[in-house]
């Protein structure tokens, strides 16, 4: 019975708003709108072709651009392997590689020797910090942004 009454109330409210909102006149657009549109069109028309979107470039320029891109991509694929071999031959690259390997060994050693409880505690601390920061963010957003917006 209560459900029926609620639905009837919502239907009645819907019909009331239909009647009230029906035929509400349009707002007049600002006087500045037309001049803004024509000003922007003029500004875009005065741009040189290379500053317009790609679709508006001359056909020759578009073709040349695509060709250059294809050449660069091919060079990148062909030269990739050579570049990697070249970098590996450098002394500083070998040092970085050795450093990374040492860091990996250290991490593996820690994982073997540290008690498992440490890992669980670290995960718990991270989870708590995440929840606290999420809650703070939500509270700050609702207080400083959403509330003034709803009060307008």
């Amino acid at each position: 019975m209560r459900q029926m009454t609620t639905n009837e109330s919502h239907e009645a409210l819907k019909r009331l708003l239909d009647r009230t909102l029906h035929g509400v006149p349009l707002r007049r657009a600002p006087m500045t709108l037309e001049s803004r549109v024509f000003g922007e069109l003029a500004r875009r028309a005065s741009l040189p072709w290379w500053r317009r979107s790609f679709a508006h470039w001359p056909l020759l320029a578009r073709t040349a651009f695509l060709l250059i891109c294809c050449v660069l991509v091919t060079l990148a694929f062909l030269g990739g392997a050579t570049a990697v071999a070249g970098v590996r031959s450098l002394s500083w690259a070998r040092e970085i590689e050795a450093l990374m390997a040492s860091a990996g060994t250290l991490a593996a050693l820690l994982a073997r020797t540290a008690p498992p409880a440490w890992a669980y505690e670290a995960i718990a601390v991270c989870a708590v910090l995440y929840v606290v920061l999420f809650g703070l963010g939500a509270a700050v957003y609702r207080t400083l942004y959403l509330q003034p917006l709803n009060d307008r």
């Binding site: 409210l13 009331l16 708003l17 009230t20 509400v24 006149p25 069109l41 939500a138």
Partner: protein, 168 residues
């Protein structure tokens, strides 16, 4: 452009609830229309095309700023018991603001719409002004059917006391 600028601006302003944003959106709509001028100049559906583009651009414009906050904004007391928004049966008048001039009515209704939370205003305007179905609104707002219906019901319930107080 003159034939459609009021329609485009009104649609954007009611959805966005902000005149500055509405003017930016209307400008973008006409710039896009200019790109399709050849097809639109003799098309009988130019008005519909402009209205659809205005609606979509406004929703995109609002979505850009809304997406990251959607999770936060839908948390909490805003999602309280739906039945509490139902008005008392039999207590409704035949029409609100009936004794006012159309333009005065328009000013009061637009001001009342601006006081609604964004997710409620969007759903209400799309339903009552743009005459979209619940399903179409759900698709446009990327929301479930249940959420769309709840938002529209709450928006109506929130709009009623605002308009009633204006009528007094």
């Amino acid at each position: 452009m003159r034939a459609y600028q009021d329609m485009v601006f009104s649609t954007a302003a009611r959805l966005a609830g902000n005149d500055g944003q509405a003017e930016d959106i209307a400008q973008e709509v006409f710039l896009r229309a200019y790109e399709h001028f050849a097809q639109l100049r003799s098309s009988p559906t130019a008005g519909g095309w402009l209205k659809t583009v205005t609606t979509n651009l406004t929703l995109n414009y609002l979505g850009r700023y809304r997406k990251r906050w959607r999770l936060f904004s839908e948390l909490g007391p805003a999602d309280a018991d739906e039945d509490s928004s139902a008005p008392e049966p039999g207590a409704l008048p035949d029409m609100l603001l009936a004794d006012l001039e159309a333009e005065q009515r328009r000013v009061l209704i637009d001001a009342a719409l601006r006081r609604l939370p964004e997710h409620q205003r969007l759903a209400l305007v799309l339903y009552h002004f743009e005459e979209l179905s619940y399903e179409e609104i759900g698709i446009k707002l990327h929301a479930s059917l249940a959420k769309v219906k709840t938002d529209i019901r709450r928006a109506r319930a929130a709009l009623l006391p605002i308009l009633e107080s204006c009528a007094r």
